[in-house]
Symmetry: C3
Subunit: 317 residues, 3 copies
């Protein structure tokens, strides 16, 4: 089979078709075999990790994926990025990494930073989160997790809970769902943190049934997947308002027990206290498995983009 | 021979028997052959270094050991840990690393952090220093250094000098000695920094002869090994008190010349000014060799825990 | 051919002869073949990067070079160096790295730090920039870039522009030129940032024609290579003075168009605003290629110093 990923940038989950993602998930599934070993299909490659914003989880997940494939990794984390930032423009930093490495993974707080980097770089660029909307590899591993859990992404009812306005993981997940055929998506957030107009419009355009609601309680019996995200204190001008909202969107075991038996809770992590710790060890918690799935999905993505000879490892493309 | 280390956590030096350590030291001795080369016995493994507290020496020593064995390394240093710490609980961070890597090395300021991590993780956890008492791999390399210098650990007279109250290296070293048969241990510290009651009780229980003294001068002629640790200014409410103590516990060449010809000075490093610089190039100084021994000892430990096929490299277990 | 680099320290560009550099450039040229792949000629080696001062570009360039040669890398960047610095003296830090690694690359703000490190270490030490004068590997890649662009270093007319007093890249470049036979060097800087007396004396002693001038405009028609460096605000007690100077030394496309058609602009990077962005995509800009050349030159240098078996890879020494 051919490989539509080769040499490609990954800026938004919407750059991909359902068929692309299905192939990615198929290869991801095969990568699980090598998750705790090493295959040297990328031994000639150097992956640059340009993390201008802190993110231990995503950074180490990419680094693990690269190293399991035999690639070398260079780069910087946010703590080191200050020296990069000191006056040098992003284009020059990207040009430097582009001349050293074979692929650049970038994380940046500014909307569009990854797209800009992709325009400057001659090598492929993967967006590891920029601005408020795009974190495509997170959406990929989220969808892959659901596929593994339920055997399908279509036909399920979803609740996306928390900060739908500034949270890029939530928005990317919603965008990702629109490539499939969800039964319905409930958008559950406090009024201040509602999904952006462009997201709602995209849902309408794609004909995805959705509904904005204020509380998880009201829809708990209907949903198959609850995707929870953190609500950050900084979003609220009034601390009292934050405290109220936080309480109302806290996911407890009692709440989950009102839902379906097969209900699964996802979370892009790190979580703080938005999910009751007792949930962690319950049948509902899928977020640790979800985080772990980041490695095989990113292994598949890196291998496909860089044209690794997976077939010689017995992996079907 | 069998390998009692396989799959094991390393939380305290007291988790190990004398026989365990003797095997570790035997393998460490064989690892010296590969200290400046590379053997690929761990090429399928990823070691996660979770350094929540700064420690360049221990971190790079583990990293060197892992890489000399062909393993890959991921992780974070204290400068990067701030982003991890931001609200995420330790359990979630450990779960993440556990799903990426095959073994976790953790350094943390809180007592019990390593034990907690070992309970959460399914992969082995090595304590690279937590709280005020435990730094087992430091004790291992300390004892290994003495074995190399004197051909034995038993029957020697030791002075442990400096901060015996808050210094985890000193306490771990004392615990380590109790697994052998030292002739006597002098505990030399200012009154404020005396060894904790539980340490003294442990010494009594194990029947190890010891004596608490205030000055090195008084016992200099009796000892074979002087283990010096740093006294930190922060421990003293009164700066004048600190200055007095610091002077009294400074190790000079003149002092050492009053001792045995074969006297050796150890120090876990980094040192500041507690040892006169002229000692560095004297026959007494064993601390640089001691630091260098960290690599073969940690190579042996990682290889044994992860069940590396050392025998195929001609290494006797 | 024999290898005069083997086991050698790299402290100043003046430690090398023209013949040494010509060999280095020949091997660098061959390394270009492996710039985007990997050869395992240093698979048994660990390179320590001791970056006490921030420098993402130089650090990642060395790291890339080492990894393309199959070596492992350990070390710390400036963000992590604070914990190293805390009281520990430089000699002890270097001794530690020397016992772990096979070669040390050091960057430090103090003049002479690299030389001192080389005296302490038994393994080779490469100066990646210390103090205000020496950054020998930068000079190597600068000269290599000119050789690639013009086919020769001799007989060209150079302008070195900007901070000639505190900028170590500029000074190292001037020193490097004195190993060849430039037609003339213009030293272009504001009065406060003139080249040091020792640099001028060295130029005279080597019989290199040079002239100090205040403005680029006056000499633009004569030069083949313009080496631009940043002028830092901190150098000026009076901010007004800085603003004036900055404007006068800004390189615009209009200025360059008054020069030769073949004129090339070099810059050690990172640059801030001393070069008009429109220059970036013009025929004059050689600085991105120059930065990229850091990898093959550092590959050649590491391989030669560590005595890699390059000939087995078909590389002529």
């Amino acid at each position: 089979m051919d490989n539509p990923f080769i040499g490609r940038d990954v800026i938004s989950i919407l750059d991909f078709s359902r068929k692309d993602l299905e192939q990615l998930f198929r290869v991801s599934r095969e990568m699980e075999r090598f998750r705790k070993s090493r295959i040297d299909v990328l031994r000639d490659k150097i992956i640059a990790l340009a993390f201008f914003e802190p993110s231990t989880r995503t950074r180490l997940s990419f680094e693990t994926a690269a190293k399991r494939l035999g690639a070398n990794v260079i780069g910087f984390s946010a703590a080191e990025a200050t020296s990069v930032a000191k006056g040098e423009n992003l284009a020059d930093t990207i040009r430097m990494l582009d001349s050293y490495a074979d692929l650049i993974v970038i994380r940046h707080r500014f909307e569009g930073a990854a797209k800009f980097a992709a325009e400057v770089a001659s090598n492929p660029v993967i967006n590891a989160g920029d601005g408020k909307q795009h974190h495509p590899t997170q959406a990929m591993l989220d969808l892959y997790t659901i596929l593994k859990l339920f055997g399908r992404i279509d036909g399920l009812t979803y609740a996306v809970v928390g900060d739908l306005r500034y949270g890029r993981a939530a928005t990317s997940f919603i965008y990702g769902l629109t490539l499939f055929e969800p039964r319905k998506i409930f958008l559950v957030s406090p009024p201040l943190l509602r999904a952006r107009t462009e997201v709602l419009e995209h849902l309408r355009r794609r004909g995805v049934p959705f509904e904005e609601v204020d509380s998880v309680e009201s829809i708990i019996e209907e949903i198959d997947v609850m995707y929870v995200t953190r609500i950050q204190r900084e979003r609220f001008p009034d601390p009292m308002e934050y405290e109220k909202v936080r309480g109302a969107y806290r996911i407890t075991l009692e709440l989950l027990e009102k839902g379906k038996d097969s209900l699964k809770v996802l979370h892009p992590l790190p979580k703080v206290d938005e999910i009751d710790h007792r949930v962690d060890s319950s049948k509902y918690a899928a977020y640790f498995e979800q985080a772990a799935n980041g490695v095989p999905v990113r292994m598949a993505l890196l291998a496909l983009i860089l044209g690794a000879d997976l077939e010689s490892m017995g992996v079907r493309l």
